[in-house]
């Protein structure tokens, strides 16, 4: 028995050690980009590397956000992410509710749900060429609405499925009670189901925001100038064949991470539910 307890103690220590290593490995790269964004160029290039910035400076933030148009890129990113999220959450809730609550002939419910999800299987590189040509014809290339439309198509399948799963979890009885009291189906949706699904709306919105904020390939092809270019595109533009502006891209890259990190801690419960929603419930 004594031997057994000892081995469990060792196991526990090994487990804690592994988790500690995982934490360090997870956090170091984030720390490293932050640290480098506050170093003078000469300190970024120092050998051996300077683990903690000796002379912290906000020079690169000034260069990126004042001298170069990174503030505009960030604003574009924000406008595009928020608009995409609004449209996706509204359309997604409507469709999600319809799929969760209404009767369908035969296997139509399954067919429609699966078709919506399958549009998400399309690799973006497949749809991007026709979208580029279509937006070009419409004179919408290099505009924010073009990016918002493309992102909405990208986010809608996910938003619909997530809202469908939340509505399915709500007890039908509350809506039925409202309808017995004289409310219409639409009224029951608006006044009963939607307020109850608030956590689901929040989780869906968070996901749409993160996905749109991070997206790269579609924006790379649909945007050309700072009129519509987003933060990731601006960052990539400073990694050129001849020179990489390490300080500037570290500052911009770390800035792009900040809203996400704040988000992660404010809404951690929604995130866990959101990421694992389909996998556990099947």
């Amino acid at each position: 028995m004594a031997h057994r307890r000892k081995s469990i103690g060792i196991q526990r220590i090994a487990a804690y050690a592994t988790i500690a290593v995982a934490l360090v490995v997870t956090l170091f790269p984030v720390y490293w980009i932050a640290a480098n964004s506050f170093k003078y160029d000469i300190d970024i290039f120092s050998i051996p590397p300077q683990w903690i910035p000796a002379n912290p400076t906000s020079k690169h933030y000034h260069a990126a956000f004042v001298e170069r148009p990174f503030l505009i890129y960030a604003l574009n990113s924000l406008i595009i992410a928020v608009s995409t999220t609004l449209v996706s959450v509204v359309f997604g809730s409507l469709a999600g509710y319809a799929l969760a609550r209404f009767q369908y002939p035969g296997r139509w419910r399954y067919q429609i749900s699966f078709w919506i999800l399958s549009t998400r299987m399309m690799p973006p590189i497949v749809t991007i060429i026709p979208l580029y040509i279509a937006f070009n014809h419409l004179g919408m290339l290099n505009t924010k609405p073009a990016v918002i439309i493309a992102y909405t198509a990208f986010n809608l399948p996910f938003a619909t499925w997530m809202m469908k799963s939340y509505f399915q979890d709500l007890p039908v009885e509350l809506e039925e009670a409202a309808m017995v009291d004289g409310d219409t189906r639409w009224g029951a949706f608006l006044h009963v189901a939607l307020p109850l699904a608030r956590p689901g709306l929040a989780a869906t919105a968070i996901f749409c925001l993160i996905i749109s904020w991070n997206e790269f390939l579609l924006a790379l092809i649909l945007t050309l100038t700072e009129r519509s270019q987003t933060l990731p595109i601006g960052i990539a533009g400073r990694v050129t064949q001849y020179n990489t502006y390490w300080g500037e891209i570290s500052a911009a890259g770390f800035t792009a991470c900040i809203p996400i990190m704040i988000f992660a801690f404010v809404v951690q419960k929604h995130l866990v539910r959101g990421i694992s929603f389909g996998a556990v419930k099947g």
Partner: protein, 301 residues
Amino acid sequence: MTVSIGAKFGNSFERWFERHLRVLMLAPAMLVLLTLTIFPSIYMIIAAATRISPNPDLPWQFAGADNFLRLLTDEQFHVGLWNTMVFTVFAVGTEFLLGLGLALLLDRYIRRLNFLKTILMLPMMLPPVAVAITWKLIYEPQFGVLNEIMFRLGLPLQAWAGDVRLAMFSVIVADVWQWTPFMFLLMLAGLASLPDEPYEAAAIDGASAWRQFWDLTLPFLKPVIAIALLLRIMDALRLFDLVFILTGGGPADRTKTLSLYIYQVAYRFADPSYAAAISLFVLFTTVAFSTWFIKRMRLAD
């Protein structure tokens, strides 16, 4: 009378609205998705079967299967296909093993620590572009951190992402850093939903922890594992951002993925017809693989 006519009109609209509510609620999402998937698909099929002239005034020429036949002899395409497969197998495989291991540890020894979970899942939420430049900084051969660690350990310094032999490995490591949290989180959610009774019975029967893992935990987790793998494989097959920034597909095309190759064909070589053919190939293989995988894992049940 006039009042009741107005009420009647409002009523009939309301009734019409209620009667068609199902369709009306589905319509916005369906219309957006139909326009933005059906139109591109038709375009891609037409484009792939034609030879689009660089001069926009000239008509398209019918090319039949020419663009698809090119796939058979195009070595760059074969390289891209091979790289994509190598990347997918090793990156997703490593992410799965690490994610499952971490989830088992955390589930067993540290419960109810949301804060820790949130830190561990951070990488998957960060912008891939920011992740790519962070790793570029770490891999930098002259002043990068990784070579400093190699130096301290007395190991030979490497060019990492710039080295023909190590470039793919470097890309995989960066991807594993970003996406292991996804596997970890799904496995953790799966573990949290396991029933207790079979384990109690197994403990009474004196089953070892190892036996319990193989005979109970893995079979119970199978649906979660299958979905996690499917989602990650589909993502890995379209890898673009990371290689675009970290290596640009080099050195010597060692990290050129199919997505990157399609991008180059369409925009650098200005050959949308051939890009469409490769895209359709990618689309069909992805769909065929997912369908096979879903059937195989009996996910539809």
